[in-house]
Amino acid sequence: MRHCRLEALGAACALGSELRDIATRLLSPADSALVLRSGLLPDRELLVGAVEECLPQIPPHLARLRCRNNALALAAARGAHGALEGALSRFCPKRIGVIAATTTSGVVEAGAAVASVLDGAGWPTEFHYAQLEHGGLASFLAATFGAQGPSYTLSTACSSSAKALVSARSLLELGLCDAVVAAGVDTLCKLTANGFAALEALATERSNPFSRNRCGLNLGEAAALFVITREEGGIQLVGCGESSDAHHMSAPNPDGKGAEAAMRGALADARVTPQEVLYVNLHGTGTPLNDASESLAVARVFGESTPCSSSKPRVGHTLGAAGALEAAFCCLVLASERDGALALPPHDWDGERDPALADLHLVGANQRARVRGRRLVASNSFGFGGSNCTLILERTPS
C-alpha cells in the first residue's frame, strides 16, 4: 500500500506566518484579515489578503533570484522554525525534489523594471530575468533547501499548487525522489489586479461566496510549503482528482461537470465514500460563476449536509498558492481534533442564500465535526483554463 505523508509544513498568509497563529485565527469566528491596498489599480483601493510583516532577506549568493515571491516562500519556511529542514535532513540531496507552483513569480519586480526601461533608465541593476521566469521559484527553493533532485515549477492558474502536491506524490511513486518540497507561492501585483479588473471579477468589498449578493473575488498573496515523503502515519495525501473543463479560458463550465469529475476522481483514488468526508474546503471565490458551478457539483457529490466553507473572504484568493495554502488549512483542521471532534473554519458570508445555488451546509461560528470513523477532509481548487483539482487528506492514528 502506498503512503504519502505531509511531514512538515510552513505557511505565510494574511492570517500570519506561524502555524499556531494561523490555526487560531482560521478556526475562530470569522475575522477577515483583508486590508485596503492602494497602488495595485490606478484608480481605486482594493481589499486584499496581504502578508504585512517584514519578509526575510534573500541571501547574497541568491541575489539574482531576489523578489518578493521568493521572500514569501522564505517567510513560510521561517515560520516553521526548522521543521522543513529537519524533515529533509535524513534524505540524500539528490533524492530530494522540488515542485513549486506560482502564477506571478517575480512579476512585481519585472513590472518596476519595465517601467524603468520605459522611462529611459534601462534595466535596474538588481533586476534579472531569473526573477520573472517561472522556473526561478523552483531554482530558489532547491538552492534554499539543498535539494539536488528533479526541480520544476508548475503553473496552472488557481489549481497550480494543488497539482504540485499531486505531482509530488507521483514523483515519490515513480521512485524519482524520496522526499519532495511541494510549494505554492503568489504575490499581490498590478498585473493580476489589472487583469482581474479587466475581467470584472474583483469585488468592491469583501467577497461573499455562495451569497445571492456575491460580486467577485478579493486577491491575496501567500506561500505554503510542504515536505512530502513515503512515510506512513500523520497526515496523508490519500486522494487526488484532476480534470479539465474544456470550456472557456476564464469561466468554469456552468454544469460543474469538470469540478464534479475532480471530486469523484479524488474519492475513487482514496477509495472512500463522500459520506466519510467530514469537511470540504471550497474553492469558493465569490464570483457569480465559480460559486454557481461549484455549489451544484459539491451537492451532487457530497450532498447538502457535509460541512463546507471557503477561506477566501479571510485570506483572499491566493491564486497559485491557494491549493497548497488551503491544503495547509485542511492540515490545521485535522490537527485540531479535541474530544472526538474537529474544529472547522467558519464560512464568512452575509447569510443570504442564493436560491439558484445548491443549499450547501456552510460552516457557522464555533462549529465542530464529530469524528465518526476516518478523519478525512477534501479541498477544491479550480482554475483559469478550466484546470480542476481536488485533494483528500487523512489524519491517521499514529
Binding site: 487583469g195 484532476e242 479539465s244 473543463d245 484546470s387
Partner: protein, 239 residues
C-alpha cells in the same frame, strides 16, 4: 515514447528535421503554423506559442492519450512584457489578452479546442525545461495509467530580454506521446539522473528540446544533458 513531432519556422516535415539534425542549430524566431483546424475567431487570439503547441497536438492526434503536459521555459512572456508596459502607462488591459497569457493558457486552449476533459499540466524549469517536462509527463502518465502528450515549446525571447539569455533564443515546439509503462511504445527510453564525468556538450547553446530532436533523428545510443558534473540527465535507447 510512442511518437514524436516537431515544428519551427521553416522546419515542418520530418525530412526537414532530419536534414536539420545533421547540423543542429538555433531555429528562427518568427513564424507560426497556420492551425486552420482552429476556428478563425479563436485562431486570431492565439500567440505563436499557442499555435505551435496546438500544431504539435494536432500532429500527434492519431496516437491515443489521456492528458497533456505543456513545458515552456518562457511561457507567454511577450504578452507579459506588453501588459507590464501597458500598466506602466496606466492603460487598461484587455481581458482576453490577460486570460490568454497565463502560463497554462496553451494547455487550457488545447483542452478547449480538442474538447478533451483529461487533466493537463504546465511547467517550467529554466534550462532544464525539456527534461522536467518529460518527468511531469511520466508522472501524469503513471497516475492516468495511459500515455500522455508532452509539448515542449518556446518563443524566442523579446528583444529587450535577450541580454539576460543564458542559452540560444529561438522559436520551436517539440511534441511526443510518452508513457510510463515499460512495455509500451516504439521508442523505449531510459531516463537516468546522476553525476559523472561527461564530455563538454558541443551545442550547449541549444535549448534541451532542440538537442533531443537532433538525437531522436540520429543513431547515437545516449544523450546527456548536464548543467554541471553533479547534475547530469541521460536518456538512452533501450533494446
Amino acid at each position: 515514447m510512442r511518437a514524436w513531432s516537431a515544428w519551427a519556422p521553416g522546419l515542418e516535415t520530418r525530412e526537414q528535421w532530419l536534414a536539420w539534425s545533421r547540423e543542429p542549430r538555433l531555429t528562427a524566431r518568427d513564424g507560426a503554423p497556420a492551425v486552420r483546424f482552429v476556428p478563425a475567431l479563436q485562431r486570431r487570439r492565439l500567440s505563436q506559442l499557442a499555435k505551435m503547441t496546438l500544431q504539435m497536438v494536432q500532429e500527434l492526434a492519431g496516437t491515443q492519450h489521456a492528458g497533456f503536459v505543456v513545458a515552456s521555459r518562457h511561457g507567454e512572456v511577450h504578452s507579459c512584457i506588453s501588459m507590464l508596459s501597458e500598466i506602466a502607462r496606466e492603460q487598461p488591459l484587455s481581458p482576453t489578452v490577460f486570460s490568454h497569457s497565463v502560463h497554462n493558457a496553451p494547455a487550457g486552449l488545447l483542452s478547449i479546442t480538442t474538447g478533451n476533459c483529461a487533466p493537463s499540466s504546465s511547467i517550467a524549469a529554466g534550462r532544464e525545461t525539456l527534461i522536467h517536462g518529460l518527468i511531469e509527463a511520466l508522472a501524469l502518465s503513471q497516475r492516468r495509467a495511459a500515455p500522455v502528450v508532452l509539448v515542449c515549446a518556446d518563443e524566442a525571447l523579446p528583444a529587450q530580454l535577450e541580454q539576460f539569455a543564458d542559452e540560444g533564443s529561438c522559436s520551436y515546439a517539440f511534441g511526443a506521446v510518452v508513457s510510463a509503462a515499460h512495455d509500451d511504445g516504439e521508442i523505449k527510453l531510459r531516463l537516468e539522473f546522476g553525476s559523472r564525468a561527461v564530455e563538454p556538450v558541443a551545442n550547449s547553446e541549444l535549448p534541451q528540446a532542440l538537442r533531443l530532436i537532433a538525437w531522436l533523428a540520429a543513431v547515437a545510443r545516449t544523450i546527456d544533458f548536464s548543467e554541471s558534473a553533479e547534475r547530469v540527465w541521460s536518456i538512452s535507447r533501450v533494446e
